[in-house]
Subunit: 436 residues, 2 copies
Amino acid sequence: MKPVKIGLLGLGTVGGGTLEILQKTLPEIQGRLGQSIEVVAIAVRDLNRPRSVDTTGIELTDDPMQVVTHPDVEIVVELMGGTGLARDLLSEAIRLGKHVVTANKALIAEFGNELFALAAENNVIVNYEAAVAGGIPVIKAVREGLAANKIEWLAGIINGTGNYILTEMKKPGADFAAVLKVAQELGYAEADPTFDVEGIDAAHKLTILASIAFGIELQFNKVYTEGISKVTAEDIQFAEKLGYQIKHLGVASRTDNGFSLRVHPTLIPNSVLLANVHGVMNSVLVKGDHVGSTMYYGPGAGAGPTASAVVADIIDVIRWREQPQKARVPALGFVTEALQSAPVVSIEEIETRYYIRCFAQDHAGVLAKITSVMAKHNISIEQVVQEPCKSQPQDATLVMLTNRVKEANLNAALSDLSQLEEIDGEIARIRLESLQ
Amino acid sequence: MKPVKIGLLGLGTVGGGTLEILQKTLPEIQGRLGQSIEVVAIAVRDLNRPRSVDTTGIELTDDPMQVVTHPDVEIVVELMGGTGLARDLLSEAIRLGKHVVTANKALIAEFGNELFALAAENNVIVNYEAAVAGGIPVIKAVREGLAANKIEWLAGIINGTGNYILTEMKKPGADFAAVLKVAQELGYAEADPTFDVEGIDAAHKLTILASIAFGIELQFNKVYTEGISKVTAEDIQFAEKLGYQIKHLGVASRTDNGFSLRVHPTLIPNSVLLANVHGVMNSVLVKGDHVGSTMYYGPGAGAGPTASAVVADIIDVIRWREQPQKARVPALGFVTEALQSAPVVSIEEIETRYYIRCFAQDHAGVLAKITSVMAKHNISIEQVVQEPCKSQPQDATLVMLTNRVKEANLNAALSDLSQLEEIDGEIARIRLESLQ
């Protein structure tokens, strides 16, 4: 049987990793697939750059459209990133009736609806396992493995950089800025770390996970996104004392008024396995109505893990293209007619528990005053810790965990609290999820 | 489009759960699959038993062959268990050209080779996701999600009863017999607990996992199987002091001489996420050459989780039957011609680290004598703990962790050790895996 011919757009970290797998592990892959795969063309940025991978016998070009239109290329694999040129190239590949595999989370989260519609018209597959949580086959788990369930919610550590930073901040004396600097030196964080630490990368991934879990269109611009730059080492220590870890989570859940899609630092109980996911590792916890909670864990980035997901997608495309379109796994897990249009609720409408930390003057009656403000807004305090404040010696640091309350309600309480003359400086607020 | 018609063999816990999903979550499933599923016939043991599920409009029969030969039934779903009648029924279903879904781990582990060969001849699919780790889609993850990797090893907590017992034995004063009794009262363990506590159930699952990971035929009778009944609460406490948890693991790995397939109690480092999997939960850790380590976690038993996997298999069958056989995921993950015949090595040939616990007379020179026996066999002791022995006041309890050593070598050393007059009673030995 003739090998299936593919073209790569990009030969950077993931492109090189993909080529290496298709060379080194080809016997294993052939054993699984029953046929061979051949890379026939690769688009690179600079033809003269020395390569650590062997490209003998492969057409290299610096014009990516040549790979897309290459008469032998049956599957176009996009590993160049960005949402401009990549979008145009994949749209053209789809129009030419070619199947597509991409690792591009921004492209899928922002332009996936358009690409999937075009793919359906042209009877081709767009696969994107590597776009979420790198090497962990979580797209496959949710779209296929849990297909018998109505997904109630999911919560994931889906940005390795952020999780590395929060993990390192647990070490004595560490603070956000210092840890970020080390992460940059180790190559875990970009020179401009905004995408990772402000949660944009996680929001891209959460957008995709929410769509395949609930059967809703991709709505990246509706995701509430809060980064980790305001989390302090002190917050992490207080959380730990109370039995929690602070993790930067993507959370998608059903509410009475629609779907909640959000990325923010979150206290989660130590007793939950997800709280033990440390360093650069990723993990996604998914709650289905019949299966209960299942969790998927592994490396979320890097050449090998990402390329592992890309090649698994290529294998699926080779299998699925033999099916009529109606029998294939739909791009968003649900057939187009079944996609729901339920709204995404604003962050003010969510209901959860909260960690509140403030600096308050350390004299009698202050705690009573604070709790009475909270009570006025019908917020119960379930745990309180008070300690001498290190940065402001006249103050105590006061930490409270609330009961479940609507965020709008909590905001009103915090606004009243901040008016108290006994409160010094800003009040920190971190959401708390029990994940049960 | 007409619904796909299926027949169930068995309406016990899992059968009832499957019927309930296909009733309660059908709109969600139809949204994913683009078509409906209808249960038309069910074989039950006793037609007169009252049912908690609604069987209106479904043909009930106490002759399971009637379901198999039912002219409308396109997919036969076997949830009755056992390897006698179930084997005959599924063989007949396959001969009639019907696709098959089963949750029966014993049947697949012991007779899968025969069933898969028959299925290939008859161009039908046999799916068995629910046979391993209940609701966790780990068969899908290994056969499809990690298909770009050569799997190096896997290790799993794949028997919830055993993991529950070992977890409960950490509580003060608990011992194996008392915890087993509670597990039986809670319904976590059978009246005859042999299958679970002696590792047979785990060996069935490990057989299947090893085959799809490495591309080898099912070889249940080659699995080394050791249960948990000899693990003491004291061993669990010593392990914890040394930074380890004792888990009942199924381990499959490549060695220089063949594949190692084994089920036994194992010390694993606290720092490994798998060590934090407690209670009745299951989890499988898989090491691939490109992806590195990924882990899959969730409930390994129960009506909802098991039925979730059964229904996901039904959905896959409905999709895959539209493909030519060569494009389908092969039953053991690899096409028949690619299956390897490398041998399974005996337990004496494995190389790993060991936890050794013995009772030794508490006087000067005893430790030196013991370590010199070990040294004679080229075994280094990497950690030692000595404590007063509770059960034998004249003795000390001595615990040692060895370096990596061949099991045959260790056995020789233990045999020599047991000859020392300073050693009282049996020497306990538990394997230790770093899982890196």
